[in-house]
Amino acid sequence: MGDAIQGIGHSIVRMASFTGKELREVIRRPGVMLSMILGPFLIMFLFGLGYSGYRAPFATEIVIPAGSNLPQTPEDYAELAPGRLDVRGVGNDAAAAEQRLRDGEIDLLVVAPENAAGELRAGRQTAIRVAWNQVDPVYDQLATLATSILVSSLNAEIIEQAAATGISLAEGELGPAVENITPDVIARPTTAETENVAPTEPDVLSFFGPAVFALVIQHLAVTLTALSMVRERLSGQMDRFRVAPVTSMELLVGKYVAYAVLSLAVSAIVGVLLVGVLGVPLLGSIGLFAGIVLLLTFASLGFGLLISLVADSERQAVQLSMLMLLASVFFSGFVLPVTDFAPWMQYIAYALPVTHGIATLQQLMLRGVVMDTWMLGVLLGIGLVLYLISLLRMRRVIRTAD
């Protein structure tokens, strides 16, 4: 009995030794503590401060038949679906409006029928055409909902007007035809014919596939690079580099090329699986696809190098890489659209390579073209700026004998 109690006591002492050691190790790394506590807090703080929860209404254009006596100004349609539709223009050129929809200048197109009164007289519901251009399944649902609200609002308006003017007037106007109108048409005189003009059907896998892919590329590049340099700094290998006739530029470029090759190889495999196995469409050119991956990798490697040059341990490098992943999930448009954030927060989001990676890959893969070409320039810019910062920092690390 005594031996058993003693054994338990010894076991507790041994376990406590591990607990104490682990806690001491963590506490004695102020950088780790800082990134462990301050990092997640900062992300939550920014999220709380920057997320408005406000989803911008669809930029809408209304096409009415030429010579129609329907209202001609956007203000007349402001109350059709408030908060859902932002009517920016009313015109007669359906083809031009459709082109603007396809070019992404507007989100929603509403085309009023040619002969609404005639259809109604004939006892048929009038159909308005509502089109949108969305590859995002969430926005596709929202557009459907907005259309439903629009039609309900229109119907309510027609019924309200009919009630106000009196059924006798309706009879007077429609004559004997009124008897042909079924109750269904009277209750819902207008319906909607909806169409999503996007080149691919909105689908969860297709939409989030490129986003996950972009996130994987960034995380891979950041983690690999961050760990590599920290390991060299801590192992004493840096002293060997300091003595050898190696320049910071040679060291950095060598690292960039290695991790670019590695990241591109992994990206190629994941890309093939994404398209070949999961069936995510790739409508754009493979060359541009590779170009985006290359730019995203270049910018992400810069972040990894920066982490590796400021982290004081492997543990902290991992922490910072994870924080970057967390920030990317929150702010990059992966889950919530970047436009849902306050404008100042959007600048932070656009500083993350993955924000541009997600948007451009989704556009290229699901639409066949990169609509926001400026994002490619930003990716290149982020990569170059981070390369220069890393180069300056590396110069200090490799040559300064402090």
Binding site: S235, G236, Q237, D239, R240, F241, R242, V243, A244, P245, V246, T400, A401, D402
Partner: protein, 331 residues
């Protein structure tokens, strides 16, 4: 920049280094001539690695002047860097690379192309007897083999000057001997080596020895000369057939000191062992003591080091006492 043969390859003058206000290296001065081995010997924490890092330019100095191949290490030219090799104290190579790949990587750091590299890698691995293990991953090598691999990496670009920090730390005596043999071969090829070691006995393998304690230079000389400095002359071990007394030899010409280590054994410090030896035999015979054996004693470097540290301590105590006396006198 070419250094004339008579000029020292490495020169340090009053070099100091402080960390957080604490002096770790305190006013070191020494020269290393071309084609020689300078051993920096001292206990762990005495400032050896800090000294080497200052000499290689990987660490700045707080005070003093250093020239290596005629240049300040903080501003080494690319060409000079190509003539220098540094072997760090800790194993810092890549565990996931093979021995051959590690050496190849370091060769590439010195700008040696793939075709020219191959025979150099082979030669470097052969020098340290690792050619048969060239395909083994560094992590699978024993501690001693890893040290030799580090040495091969330092040798691969045929440097003129090698800074080797504790090449024998933590490895068995046989391997230590082998590594020193390799270092002496390199010296024989005309290279200049600065080697640190905490094993005092290894001072024997060096051309000149700088002994440092607490960051201060305790002695700087050839191994033979250091023995004389510590013991004041050459030491003769005398074994008698009967009990002996130190006084029996105290008055002999050329005898500087006599120390009794057992009833029948004396350690005699003499100006010259060859001339004083016969006088000792004769002196003891006159005192009625027959000599069983007499030979020149080679003090170990542990004894030399202990003696030097003792001298240093005595000197410091004396200086402290003198300083106290001056203060008291002024007070």
């Amino acid at each position: 920049m070419t250094t004339a043969p008579s000029e020292p390859i490495i020169s340090a003058r009053g070099v100091s280094r402080a960390f957080d206000g604490r002096l770790v290296v305190d006013g070191l001065s020494f020269d290393v001539q071309p084609g020689t081995i300078l051993g920096i010997v001292g206990p762990s924490g005495s400032g050896k690695t800090t000294t080497v890092r200052m000499l290689t330019g990987t660490l700045g100095r707080t005070d003093g002047e250093i020239r290596v191949l005629g240049e300040d290490p903080r501003r080494f030219s690319r060409r000079t860097r190509g003539r220098i090799a540094y072997m760090p104290q800790l194993f810092s190579l890549y565990e996931d690379l093979s021995a051959q790949e590690n050496v190849g990587f370091v060769a590439a750091l010195y700008g040696i192309g793939p075709f020219k590299r191959r025979p150099l890698i082979r030669r470097a691995l052969e020098v340290v007897d690792l050619h048969d293990a060239r395909h083994r991953l560094a992590r699978d090598l024993s501690g001693g083999m890893q040290r030799r691999l580090e040495l091969a990496c330092a040798l691969v670009h045929s440097p003129d000057v090698l800074f080797i920090d504790e090449p024998t730390a933590g490895i068995d005596p046989l391997l230590r001997q082998a590594i020193w043999d390799e270092l002496r071969v390199l010296r024989g090829e005309g290279r200049t080596l600065l080697v640190t070691t905490q094993y005092v006995a290894e001072a024997e393998y060096c051309d000149r020895v700088a002994m440092i304690v607490d960051g201060q230079l305790v002695a700087l000389d050839t191994p033979d000369q250091l023995r004389k400095v510590v013991f004041g002359g050459e030491v003769i071990e005398v074994n008698a057939q009967q009990d002996v007394e130190p006084q029996m030899l105290g008055t002999l010409e050329g005898v500087l000191a006599v120390r009794q280590t057992s009833p029948r054994r004396l350690m005699v410090t003499a100006t010259d062992a060859a001339t004083v030896g016969p006088r000792i035999i004769e002196g003891l015979r006159r005192a009625g003591v027959a000599v069983a054996g007499l030979e020149e004693h080679q003090p170990t470097f542990d004894e030399v080091f202990t003696g030097l540290v003792e001298q240093q301590r005595t000197r410091r105590e004396q200086e402290a006492a003198d300083a106290g006396a001056v203060v008291t006198g002024h007070g």
